[in-house]
Symmetry: C2
Subunit: 490 residues, 2 copies
């Protein structure tokens, strides 16, 4: 199996696509730019959803659901938003088909034309703030802390599975607050949740930062992000949290009565992560043998494969395997015992290795005699023979070790591929080779755009935790007060 | 609060709408026919989802995700399906907007017209079977047991919150099998899951039955359903499970190689329940005091309200209340302690009563002295004073009692409103008054349609558990072998 797919070295883009397809994560559908998320891929997404959903609820948020359709006129209400979003959208113009006059198939019924076209939501600020106008009258109605799990559509011309698709799945939080301070606090709280999720569950180190005005969400005052570095040296924006100020409250006339009986516009945030995280997860850890999954997000954490020649051997092995399975499940570990007789052990080894199952146990007749089990870990591909005694605790410990090791590996990779540069030549050279490039920038959009045109690199983040340091802009030589991160990006 | 909404007697339709709106379950959105599901309503839906999802997974199903869009031509491939579904659908014709020439807002960019229109899925058989063609080659690939949680759109002219909306949320299972028998077994297995969920979680008795050809799913060989009786005597179809035969496999050319090396078409099922269940839940149990929720689906199962005049009283009560809350939570019971000082106890009582919280505990200074707590149950509105000792077990037991009582009440209602009739006059009279009407039918669509035209009643189900009994058709007098259930329906 490992033979018929590309290595990272040969063709990184093809390697990524091969893993997504051949590990049964997703595939292209009959509809241009839209993917089918297959059961194995969807099981990973469900683990992501469950984890994030609990984090949101633990911090006081509730889920709700808003319409898929947005009236066209809603987009025009917030000037920056319409520029950023309304253009590349799926537009519903009719609500009926009829039999084709030639008797072949169906055609659009022109008499069933909508008075106002409906846009498939590319994001839901407009329809949600139109709704909040009725929910919010007084300070007693605030804060509103709502999240939605939904599908959205942005008409992309060049798509790639998970990373950029016309339809994708995501969560979008939309909160309303009585003060600016509280809204900013919410923005940062969510950014921390995203960073914690990325690092502790996805085992993917991220930089928390502010976006430059060019990269800001259309309609936001400030956009914060978590930014990760992929193995090809390109950056990937993994989540964003926006402080929207009063922009949407003003556009949709959402005011509240303060304790002092004054009418004021509400303060807002919005924030989201999407199935793009699946792409990040694949690219952050996988190797030339296939997918590598962090144990905390693996649908199957442990697979047990019996090695046998005769049916009576299988029976004896199965007894032991089922006991181990039960002991592991009692610890909350997800286990598959693959005793199918339609496939050989070698085929199964390759299959689970390719699909990134973190731990594989193999049990043969000799293991039964010796009270041992062979354990292979996916991250290092190391095999070791363990005594069967207390095996569930050993495996549990090993899963923790793997989770940690995967993170450390990704962290070291990022450290080794983060460079501070001081000259324009150095900058161009470094950006071309890939990695996070720390450089001074004069703070103007003009300069950022010129740098992008010349090098394809953009400012990925103005690090929140970065220390202030005086310097000169890499491009203009004008004064700068801090280093920002440049990179080419997905 | 109880004053400004309709009773069932006064105006049943208005009563239903008032409960949905005023209990914060859902509301109409700015988009015609589309609803906003509010946090409290969505929390109930999430409990439904979690329960059903576990039942599906426990029976070997996995979740996946397929595109929102379906190419128009796909619908024409299955003749019955296109008649049933493709007509009243949202049609995407363009993928871009542009600034309006008059500078006001945005208009559809006519140059961005799709070559083939895309339909927003009203159900996903076509796109899924187009996908399965690539997933299924041999008997080893079968069965495919996949479910999808998704939004769907059917362009409804007359909508009602939850019961009939243009966009709704649902799950749709789509399975593929190597034999007819296995597919039929799956169809029935899911019907049983739906019935168990309706009865044990929703506390709503249902009849399991087969649909007559007129009421069959467009593209199915057989449609099975669970059918419930609402308090106004109208029936509500709460879930359907379809045996699709080889119809979609033939339409999308999905064949598999048998063990005997022969190419054969695959057998299929599909099945779904939707947010319509929310409407059924409201109508099945609620009364003129508002929503009544079965404990197993209530987002808040127990609310604790402190009764006090002085802050030091509140402090003493809170200590006890927090202990009770903790003890209940440790038993997996969801509890809210409402110590807000912005609302009086009487207001809170009315609020939680209206929102259907199954159990309310009230604790005042005298209770502290006596070691007691006042417990009110929502279903019967009875209040009783309990000793505080072992309160968590008493409440747990009470929740079980309430769950059971709600079911029994609904079951008795259905029994009292199920009538066997033998003459056409009796039939017309009974159908007009409401309820399930058991009658003989000659088995022809012609007769069913005539009865519908004359009385608005349809065959809701041919009961699976009904005993065979010879008789004469209520309408034509022709021979009949079993009783079927007629009713007016939602």
């Amino acid at each position: 199996m490992a033979k018929d797919f590309s290595t990272r070295e040969e063709n990184y883009a093809q390697w990524y696509n091969d893993i997504v397809i051949k590990a049964d994560l997703a595939e292209n559908s009959a509809v241009r730019g839209c993917m089918v998320i297959k059961p194995y891929g969807y099981a990973i997404w469900e683990k992501m959803q469950a984890t994030l959903d609990k984090m949101f609820k633990d911090t006081g948020h509730s889920n709700a659901y808003f319409p898929l359709f947005i009236p066209k006129s809603f987009f025009s209400k917030e000037a920056a938003h319409v520029e950023g979003f309304a253009k590349e959208c799926a537009v519903v113009t009719h609500y009926r088909l009829k039999n084709s006059p030639d008797g072949k198939g169906v055609v659009v019924d022109e008499t069933a034309k909508l008075e106002e076209e409906l846009i498939i939501r590319p994001t839901s600020e407009t329809i949600i703030w139109d709704t909040y106008r009725n929910w919010i009258q007084s300070y007693r109605d605030l804060p509103v802390l709502v999240n939605q799990w939904a599908n959205v559509v942005r008409w992309e011309m060049r798509t790639r599975l998970f990373l950029r698709t016309t339809e994708f799945l995501w969560q979008e939080g939309h909160t309303a607050h009585s003060t600016k301070e509280e809204a900013i606090e919410e923005t940062m709280k969510i950014l921390d949740i995203y960073a914690t999720f990325a690092e502790e569950w996805m085992a993917m180190p991220v930089i928390k930062g502010l976006k430059s005005p060019n990269e800001r969400f259309a309609g936001a005052v400030d956009t914060y992000c978590i930014e990760a570095l992929m193995q090809d040296g390109k950056a990937l924006q993994a989540g964003t949290s926006h402080f929207l100020g009063q922009n949407f409250a003003k556009a949709f006339d959402v005011k509240y009565l303060t304790k002092e009986n004054k009418l004021e516009h509400v303060w807002a945030t919005s924030w989201g992560v999407s199935t793009r995280l699946m792409g990040a997860l694949v690219m952050a850890h996988s190797d030339d043998n296939g997918l590598v999954l962090p144990p905390k997000l693996a649908p199957i954490q442990v697979v047990i494969v019996p090695i046998y020649r005769k049916p009576e051997q299988l029976q004896a092995i199965s007894e032991v395997a089922e006991k181990i399975k039960k002991a592991l499940q009692d610890k909350g570990i997800s286990v598959k015992y693959d005793d199918r007789d339609t496939h050989k052990p070698g085929w199964k080894f390759a299959e689970y290795e390719f699909k990134g199952v973190p731990v594989r146990l193999a049990i043969g007749p000799r293991d039964l005699e010796n009270g041992t089990v062979e354990i292979a870990r996916r991250d290092t591909l190391e095999k070791e023979t363990y005594q069967m005694t207390d095996i569930e605790n050993k495996v549990e410990h090993l899963l923790d070790q793997i989770q940690d090791n995967i993170y450390q590996k990704a962290f070291s990779f990022r450290e080794e591929n983060t460079f501070k540069v001081d000259t324009w030549d150095e900058f161009k050279d470094r950006v071309e080779k890939g990695g996070f490039v720390l450089a001074h920038w004069d703070g103007t959009s003009e300069t950022e755009i010129k740098i992008k045109v010349e090098t394809k690199a953009t400012i990925r983040a103005i690090p929140i935790d970065g220390k202030k340091e005086a310097g000169k802009c890499i491009y203009t030589g004008n004064p700068s007060s801090e280093l920002v991160i440049f990179a080419k990006a997905y």
